[in-house]
């Protein structure tokens, strides 16, 4: 199993959720994060002072999937999340040794 961690633009969430559904993903966990990277942040104005904010709001998706699904999941995200402009985000794949469903105690791939 792998944990696919995808950091995407917030307004792409709906499209990515749909694409993941089609790729066979049945569950995921989402959090609101802030990202820093090539995307340059932006200038804000507060009480007569301009300043730069280099943190950009992003949504992070954690999706644990069986090894054989990783490719499809990554592809699905790539397609759905891409706008082509800087800051589209990243996908990281991390090994998972075990998964357990709390409700039933099931373990392994059937748990996800």
């Amino acid at each position: 199993m792998k944990l696919v961690k995808a950091i995407i633009k917030p307004f792409k969430l709906d499209a990515v959720k749909d694409a993941l559904g089609e790729a066979g993903v049945t569950g995921l966990t989402l959090s609101e994060v802030k990202g820093m990277g090539r995307q340059k942040g932006h200038t804000e104005l507060y009480r007569g002072a301009e300043y730069t904010v280099d943190l950009v709001p992003k949504v992070e998706l954690d999706i644990v999937v069986p090894d054989e699904l990783v490719g499809r999941v990554v592809e699905a995200i790539l397609t759905a999340a891409r706008t082509g402009s800087v800051g589209d985000g990243k996908i990281f794949v991390i090994p998972v040794e075990e998964a357990v469903r709390v409700r039933t105690g099931e373990r392994g791939e059937t748990a996800v």
């Binding site: 633009k9 804000e44 301009e50 300043y51 943190l55």
Partner: protein
């Protein structure tokens, strides 16, 4: 022995009390009572701006909250200055002497046309910048009260256009509302213009009767919202390819309800203040009817939604309450308490149905329900004068002898006058909105923010700052100032 001789007789006393002087003081006191009442009521109406700001901001998304609240904030000043420059003069030029405010009568100067044997007023021509004869306490009191009403109208469309309207376009368009669109219709309804003359000149009841502005204020706001909402288009994501709508919940429901309470509070000033006279005890009837109709609107909306969807929907309750208030605004002075409750109950249902019509039939995207609340129920309020006015009040209104009387009490002409008022509002306000919108678009190079701005939220790109900066940038970080400015 004449009064003069009594006066004489009193004159040689010390202190020389004269009946005329005392009577004059009594009249001054009455005037003072009316000034105090009108001003306090005007203050309450001004405070409604805060209520609108909370309702509209609460009903939009966090990423657009600074934009929404700032539109609500600036519309107050922008429309006010336009009204001060031109709007007030256009509206008030045929208003006649300000009888409750000391009787000052120097403001009259209306442009009229002569049709079918009568002079009909079209707009006023005196009082620009509040200078000259308008530099007078009575006129200033009248100005203040009328200004805050206009500003209510000006703030209504901001809700319908929220989350996608360019701030620059908003600024320019608001000048048209305060300087022209509103004042012309207000002249026709309240400034001695032709709608108000439909009774005296054409025998239709007391002419157009709109006690505190279901029509002049709310329907006008609603019509502007309707037309401009159509022209601006829906928010990205509101409608699917197949035309089916999506719900886009606002970000702060409690704030919207606090705002609604502020509106309930300010509405007392709105309606009861419209006597311009604390010396008219009818103010108590007006205030009570207002209160009852608002409550009834909230309750019927709750029952309607609850029975339809299985849950009381807080956002519709709030809209229902406002609907009741909008509807009672025209008839508040002329109807009994049970009628007020009925008018409110109907309004609460109208708003629920209207929200669905606007969204699913007209395919319009009105984030806060401005069209349903102010438009539909503004019209309902105007018509309900023609139905429920019970003939106990308003004798002499618009220079017609009899009291205001609706259909249910045998007054047929009144209903006709009210209906003409509704149609006229749609025509004038609708068409002038269209023109003003197009002109504004030329000046500000369009009305709509870019797709990127809309996706990201309007706050930072349009206003320069998010509404809740800590939720955006790093909570702890003090941000270095970019550009240094020489003091």
């Amino acid at each position: 022995m004449t009064v003069a001789s009594i006066a004489l007789l009193l004159a040689d006393a010390a202190p020389p009390l004269k009946l005329e002087d005392v009577a004059k003081s009594v009249a001054d006191n009455t005037t003072a009572i009316n000034f105090v009442w009108t001003l306090v009521a005007g203050f309450l109406v001004m405070f409604m701006q805060a209520g609108f700001a909370m309702v509209e901001t609460g009903f939009t998304r966090a990423k657009n909250a600074a934009h929404t609240v700032t539109m609500n904030f600036m519309v107050y000043g922008l429309a006010m200055l336009a009204y001060w420059v031109a709007g007030f003069a256009i509206q008030a030029g045929g208003v006649g002497p300000l009888s409750t405010l000391g009787g000052y009568d120097q403001m009259n100067r209306a442009f009229t046309i002569h049709v079918a044997g009568h002079d009909w007023g079209l707009f006023g021509m005196r009082g620009f910048f509040l200078t000259g004869v308008a530099y007078n306490a009575s006129v200033f009191a009248y100005f203040l009260f009328q200004m805050v009403f206009m500003d209510t109208t000006a703030t209504i469309p901001t809700g319908a256009l929220a989350e996608r309207w360019k701030f620059s376009a908003f600024c320019v368009f608001s000048l048209f509302v305060g300087g022209l669109i509103y004042p012309v219709f207000a002249n026709w309804g309240w400034g001695g213009g032709w709608l108000s003359q439909l009774g005296a000149n054409a025998g239709l009841g007391n002419g157009y009767v709109d006690f505190a502005g279901s029509g002049v204020v709310h329907l006008t706001g609603g019509t502007i919202a309707l037309v401009s909402c159509f022209l601006l288009g829906a928010r990205k994501g509101k409608f699917n390819k197949d035309g089916s709508p999506n719900a886009i919940p606002g970000h702060d429901i409690p704030m919207a309800m606090y705002g609604t309470f502020i509106l309930c509070f300010g509405w007392f000033g709105f309606n009861a203040g419209s006597t311009l006279a604390g010396s008219d005890v009818r103010i108590a009837v007006i205030a009570t009817n207002t209160m009852l109709a608002g409550a009834a609107g909230g309750i019927s909306a709750m029952i309607y939604v609850w029975s339809k969807y299985g849950k009381p929907d807080p956002s519709m309750l709030a809209n229902g309450t406002l609907a009741g208030l909008v509807a009672i605004t025209a008839p508040c002075a002329f109807v009994s308490a049970p009628s007020a409750v009925v008018i409110g109950l109907v309004a609460g249902v109208i708003v629920c149905v209207a929200v669905v019509i606007v969204e699913r039939k007209l395919k319009l995207d009105d984030p806060v329900g401005a069209i349903s609340v102010h438009g539909f129920n503004g019209a309902w309020g105007l018509l309900s004068v023609g139905l429920f006015a019970d003939g106990t009040y308003g004798a002499g209104t618009n220079n017609v002898t009899g009291a205001v009387t609706g259909l249910l009490y045998g007054g047929y002409g009144q209903f006709a006058a009210q209906s003409i008022g509704v149609l006229t509002n749609l025509l004038w306000v609708g068409s002038s909105t269209f023109v003003a919108w197009k002109i504004t678009g030329l000046i500000t190079k369009g009305h709509r923010v870019s797709v990127e701005t809309e996706e990201m939220g309007l706050d930072t790109p349009e206003m320069g700052v998010p509404a809740y900066p800590a939720q955006e940038g790093a909570p702890e970080a003090a941000m270095p100032v970019l550009q240094k400015v020489a003091g």
